[in-house]
Symmetry: C2
Subunit: 219 residues, 2 copies
DNA sequence: ATTAAAATTTAGACAAATCTAAAAAATACT
DNA sequence: AGTATTTTTTAGATTTGTCTAAATTTTAAT
């Protein structure tokens, strides 16, 4: 299914609701519902007709095509699942979920998540006042040999970087220890451990200086 | 704090990251990072300067003002909290959260919420194939006297309507029974019960035909 | 059947965000 | 210093979504 703009989605969703029962929707009714002007509605109807989302003959009103109805149901599904989430998980009142403001939502989400200190990449999350703690993290390239540490942050988050990390199985929270440093190309040999408990060690392997410089650890 | 467009927010967030350490950010660096053209960057810089979000003299590079930094931190907070939510609750891998597509997200959300059948207003939620069940709901205005039923849907969801419902304490899931119907104005006298168990009855009260017509119940 | 009113569409304009191509300024290089 | 290169800005278009005002079509009323 193609991708539609917020504006197009609004029109589609609203037509779906208005045409319930009635077989066509009028320009004025739609303009009224969307708090916009009839001329704007006509403009958009031409666009949606061109995209085959609705049937429309000038002066004759319009109704969604089957394709348009499919899109509408997808939009409605999204909308209602989010409303359910807001009410059920974030504890908004059922009559508030329509008009939740971004700031309010984020604060409730923060509360719901238990005020996490850092995101999945290890990046610190600012609190509601904008304060962001940066704990003492050191670059993996500068970690001393044989000093166990924990991967806590990955700076470069390009696809290429993340692909490499996944392949090497380096994840946030993993325990890591440098076994050797090579002067020639500044590559380092490291060993990962499953968890803090001394479970089965993995074999050691080497990573480039470039990769190491993008990984931060805490002791 | 004012409201900014998605585009403005992208610029602000990216400048924040780029200026870490450096004291100014260059036009080309920003264009590169945003995959846009230098000319577009200059255009936006004029706009953000006008809004006092950054310091900028032509040809001299730019940096966020204190106000701009505040906005950036707010954006970063939102972004990272959502990433945390995606990873922790919706179980996306930590290296997937950057590029989650809408469809995927919604399906995971659906799963996480336990495939709810209807939203907080009682509106049915279509499944991932677009199927939407409409259970036999009857209009409260047409419910027989002394026949207990459950409020399952509210059609008109205007602020005015929701305000009235809240005042009358009529909520989705509430048990309701019509005690009398008045022919004169078609108003009805109803009584609510706390739950399905026969707990303490509330006193009965009357509602207008107009309100009743917007409420649907199931038996 | 005319005329009046209402609904709808067209014409033309505007703001936001982007682009290409050309001009201007800053830097780098003999 | 004088020229070449790079960086940045301006000028002018384009796309999307909106608007007002005027024209057109449909519907309602005499
Ligand atoms: Mn809603
Ligand atoms: Mn992140
Ligand atoms: Mn991200
Ligand atoms: Mn709803």
């Amino acid at each position: 299914m193609l991708n539609f703009s917020t504006s197009e989605e609004n029109y589609i969703k609203t037509i779906f609701h208005l045409q319930n029962g009635q077989n066509t929707v009028t320009t004025n009714a739609l303009a009224e519902k969307l708090s916009t002007r009839p001329a704007s509605v006509t403009d958009m109807m031409k666009k949606l007709k061109a995209k085959k989302l609705l049937h429309y003959q000038p002066y004759q009103g319009f109704r969604l095509s089957n394709e348009g109805k499919k899109v509408a149901l997808d939009i409605i599904r999204r909308h209602r699942l989010w409303e359910y989430f807001l009410a059920e998980k974030l504890k908004f009142k059922w009559d508030e979920v329509h008009v939740v403001a971004e700031d309010q939502l984020i604060d409730k989400l923060d509360e719901y998540l238990g005020y996490p200190k850092s995101d999945p990449h290890g990046d610190p999350i600012p609190d509601s006042l904008g304060k962001m703690e940066n704990s003492e993290q050191i670059n993996l390239a500068e970690l001393a040999v044989n000093k166990p540490a924990e991967v806590c942050r990955v700076v470069n988050q390009s696809d290429e970087m993340l692909e490499l990390l996944q392949h090497k199985k380096i994840t946030i929270g993993a325990r890591v220890e440098i076994k050797r440093k090579f002067e020639f190309d500044h590559s380092i040999e490291i060993r990962l451990r499953q968890s803090k408990r001394n479970s089965s060690d993995q074999p050691s392997f080497s990573i480039s200086e470039q990769l190491a410089k993008n990984i931060f650890v805490s002791l």
